[in-house]
Symmetry: C2
């Protein structure tokens, strides 16, 4: 019913498995090579292979050779991948608050000034940040086009 109306479904089809976001998190932190990811995550090699192929196929990461003979690649986030940053930040914040008593094991800071960051849902009209009760969903432009 509400499935195809919603981007959450489509997003989760791509990155909604147990490993994807963890791999992406490590790519954000600077991991690039197969072995590096494998060791950090403790993921089985075949799964890592499959996941990296999926990431590359989805355009979230790209495979770039860093040496010939033997040919070796590294995996870099594309813009599409880097754009997952807010999602990771949001999930991390939730974990900080609800799985770690509000004390963050890792904290995100502004690279310029070192201030810990906030993530907010913002209404441009009211110029205010909102909580969940003030958010409604409604069909957007994509849905309207399908009806015409």
């Amino acid at each position: 019913m509400s499935n195809n109306e919603c981007s959450i479904q489509q997003t989760l089809d791509v990155i909604g498995d147990r490993w994807m976001l963890l791999i992406i998190r490590n790519l954000f932190r600077g991991a690039r090579r197969f072995g590096e990811l494998e060791e950090d995550l403790g993921i089985a090699k075949n799964l890592l292979t499959a996941r990296l192929n999926k990431l590359v196929g989805a355009g979230i990461a790209e495979r770039v050779p860093y040496q010939e003979r033997p040919l070796r690649h590294e995996y870099l986030l594309t813009q599409k991948g880097r754009d997952l940053s807010p999602s990771l930040v949001a999930l991390m914040k939730w974990g900080d608050r609800w799985c770690n008593d509000g004390s963050a094991p890792t904290v995100l800071v502004h690279s310029d000034c070192g201030t810990p960051l906030m993530q907010v849902t913002h209404c441009p009209t009211c110029d205010d940040s909102l909580d969940p009760g003030q958010i409604r969903s409604r069909p957007g432009p994509g849905a309207q086009e399908a009806l015409r």
Copy 2:
């Protein structure tokens, strides 16, 4: 290595499977009953049972009787569950942009004024919104306490 330092891992342990976030999304949208979730999502009944138990066990949803004879429950998000809103919003935005050409099938609006919302990562010191390149991670208060 970096596993336990990070709340993303812990968050995904709780809600990082294919169904959890979709169930939570539907709870956000007002679904409350077993059959409602089952039909909307197309999830197998046994999985829905297992997932709802996990959500209740994790304190993300609570099971509240809405009738006796026969006893029937509905599932409501707790504060912990409602607090996943920013994560869902972020994932949805990503899907809008990257899976739907930027046109949102469903759009989130401010209930007061109807304006479509933005989600931003914000530096309270600089009073500015940031992009991923300006974000660094470092050990937080949880980790620091362990060092003192």
